[in-house]
C-alpha cells in the first residue's frame, strides 16, 4: 500500500516527464524504438469518467447546413460492433437544436381525456416500476438516397440514421393510468421541450402496449442529444414519433395533424395521394463490413458482418449473397435476437480477389422479406421519399476498393 502511494506521488510530481512519455506514445510510430517486452512505466491512474483510446476516431457524420439546429448527424455503423450503438455515436435528427434541461425542474404533464391531469417530476418517474429494452430508433428518412440506383457511397450515409440502444424507463401505460384514461381517448399527442415544441400524434393502443418514457440509455442517463432527461420510445415506429425531451402527453380522441405528420413524414404516391401515419419501420438489413469506403487488403478470409432490424418484431433470417444476387447463404444471427432491435449477422467468407457484389436481405417474424429496389418502387412509386428499405449492395473491385453497387 505504502509503496503504491509513493509511486503515485512521484507520478504526480513528475508531470512534465509523464507528459513527455504520453507524447512519445501517441506520436507516429515511424522512428519509434523497438517495443520493450514490458512497459517501463506505470499507466495512467484511475479516473472518474472514462474516455475511449486516443487511437479511436469513429465519429458521427455531419453535413454542412445553414440551420445546423434543424439537421441530422449519422452513426458510422461500420465502426460499431455488436448490436448496441455507443450513445455518443447515436444518430441525431433535431428540428430546433438540443435544449439544455435541468432535471430538477423538468416535468411531464399528462392531460386531455384523463380523469385527473398529472404532473410528474424526473424523480417521480424514477420511483415507478421500470423496464429495460433493447430497441433501434430509425429516422424514416434513413436510406432516402437508396431510392436512386446509385445509392449512397458509405453505410453511414446510406443507413446511419438508425441506431440501437438499451432504453430504461417507465412503461407509458403506468403514467397514463395514474391520470386515469377516459374511454373516448384513442390517440396521444407527445410534445418535446425543444425550441419548436416538437409534436407527434400516436395511437393510444401503441402507447399502452409498448410505449416507454425512457430516462436511461445504455446504462447511463440519456444523452442530451437523445432527449435528456426523458424521451418517448415507441418501439419500431419511425424515429420522429419517439419524441425527445418529452414534457407533455395529451390524450385525445383523434390525431392532431401536426406539421410533422402531414407536411413531413407522409408518403406521397404516384397518383398524388399520400399515406399518412406510416408508423412502422419495415424490415431492413445492410452489410457493414466490408462496406463503402473500405479497402479490402487482398484475397483471403474475410468475415462479412451486418445489421438487420424490423419495426414489426424479431428478425428471423438474414441472408448474404457474394455473387450479386445469384445465390444466397443464410448468415448466423447473434443471439439473443431482440424484437424491434438491431440484429447482428455474420458470415465467414474467403474473397478470391475477383470483382464482385455483396448483398444482404432479411426476413422478420411476420414473414416479410426485405425487397429489392424494383420491387419497392413497384409498391410505392418514386415520390415516397421516406421508408426506403431496399436491398443494398457493395461492389468490391479487384483492387479491394468497396463502393456502392448500382442496382
Amino acid at each position: 500500500m505504502k509503496s503504491r502511494d509513493a509511486t503515485r506521488r512521484s507520478f504526480l510530481g513528475t508531470g512534465a516527464l509523464a507528459g513527455a512519455a504520453w507524447t512519445a506514445c501517441s506520436a507516429p510510430e515511424a522512428e519509434a524504438p523497438a517495443e520493450p517486452d514490458q512497459p517501463s512505466s506505470l499507466g495512467t491512474p484511475v479516473s472518474r469518467y472514462g474516455q475511449r483510446s486516443p487511437h479511436e476516431k469513429a465519429a458521427r457524420g455531419v453535413r454542412e447546413s445553414q440551420t445546423p439546429e434543424a439537421a441530422s448527424s449519422r452513426t458510422p455503423l461500420d465502426q460499431t460492433y455488436g448490436i448496441i450503438t455507443p450513445s455518443a455515436l447515436h444518430f441525431e435528427r433535431h428540428h430546433a437544436g438540443v435544449p439544455e434541461i435541468d432535471p430538477a425542474t423538468h416535468k411531464l404533464l399528462v392531460h386531455g381525456l384523463v380523469d385527473r391531469p398529472m404532473a410528474f417530476s424526473v424523480d417521480d418517474i424514477k420511483r415507478l416500476p421500470s423496464v429495460s429494452r433493447v430497441h433501434f430508433v430509425e429516422c424514416s428518412g434513413n436510406s432516402g438516397g437508396e431510392w436512386s440506383p446509385a445509392g449512397a457511397p458509405t453505410v453511414a450515409l446510406s443507413h446511419g440514421l438508425a441506431s440501437c440502444s438499451e432504453w430504461t424507463g417507465v412503461p407509458l401505460r403506468i403514467l397514463l393510468e395514474e391520470a386515469g384514461i377516459q374511454p373516448e381517448a384513442k390517440w396521444i399527442l407527445a410534445e418535446g421541450a425543444d425550441a419548436c415544441l416538437m409534436q407527434r400524434s400516436a395511437t393510444l393502443e401503441k402507447a399502452l402496449e409498448e410505449g416507454i418514457v425512457a430516462y436511461g440509455q445504455n446504462g447511463e442517463a440519456i444523452r442530451p442529444e437523445q432527449g435528456y432527461p426523458m424521451r418517448l420510445i415507441l418501439p419500431g415506429w419511425e424515429g420522429n414519433t419517439n419524441v425527445k425531451w418529452l414534457r407533455r402527453i395529451k390524450l385525445t380522441a383523434g390525431p392532431q395533424y401536426v406539421k410533422d405528420e402531414t407536411s413531413k413524414y407522409t408518403e406521397l404516391m404516384e397518383d398524388g395521394t399520400a399515406w399518412i401515419f406510416t408508423f412502422e419501420m419495415d424490415a431492413k438489413s445492410v452489410i457493414t463490413a466490408p462496406s463503402g469506403g473500405h479497402m479490402v487488403d487482398g484475397p483471403g478470409f474475410l468475415e462479412i458482418s451486418g445489421l438487420a432490424w424490423s419495426g414489426r418484431g424479431k428478425i428471423r433470417q438474414a441472408e448474404v449473397s457474394t455473387d450479386a444476387g445469384q445465390t444466397w447463404t443464410e448468415a448466423e444471427l447473434q443471439t439473443p435476437v431482440y424484437s424491434k432491435a438491431f440484429t447482428r449477422f455474420r458470415l465467414p467468407w474467403a474473397w478470391d480477389g475477383s470483382e464482385t457484389v455483396l448483398l444482404s436481405r432479411c426476413r422478420d417474424e411476420t414473414g416479410y422479406l426485405q425487397p429489392g429496389r424494383a420491387e419497392l418502387i413497384e409498391q410505392r412509386g418514386r415520390k415516397s421519399a421516406y421508408h426506403c428499405n431496399r436491398i443494398k449492395g457493395w461492389h468490391i473491385a479487384a483492387d479491394g476498393s468497396v463502393t456502392s453497387a448500382e442496382v
Binding site: A96, P117, L197, K250, Q256, S263, E267, D271, A274
Partner: protein
Amino acid sequence: MQKSSLLSIATLVACAAPTLVAQTYGVGRPATADEVAAWDVTIGPEGRELPAGSGTAKDGAQVYEVRCKECHGDQGVGGDHAGLVGKPEQLKQTPPLKTVGSYWPYATTLFDYTRRAMPFEEPGSLSADQVYAVTAYILHLNGLVAEDDVLDRESLPQVVMPNRDGFVRDPR
C-alpha cells in the same frame, strides 16, 4: 409506499371504473388547471383550441417581410427552406412540390406550427394576431383567402385546403 395502500388504491380504481383494470401508484401530483392551460398549445384540425385574436393577409405581409422572408423567399417561393406556395397538380411533377398550398390538409396546422416553431431562431415570439396575419398571408399567396379576409378562431378552420382529401391511412 405500503403494499396495503397500493392494493386499496387498486381496488378503488377497479370499483370506480369497472372497464379498466388499472393499478395506480399514487406517484406524481395533480396538475393545476393553470399549468395545463399554459402548456396546452395543441390545436386540432377542427380548430376548437385556437386562441383569441385575428389578422388579415394585408397585415401579414408586413410580418412576413420582416420575420420570414430571409429564409422562405419573396412571396413564399425560392427560399432556402421549405417552399410555402404551390398547387396540388405540382405533387405529380418530378420531383414533387410539397408546399402549404399543394400538400397540407388543414389550415389550422399552419397556425399551430408557425405559432410554436417559427420564426426558426425566435420560436414562440409572435403574438396571436401576428400568427393569424402571417397565416392569412401565406394562405393568400396560395389563393385560398382574399387580402382583406379576417382570420380568427371562427374563420380559420373554415378554410378548405386543396389537398384536404389527399391523405389515406397507411395501407401496409
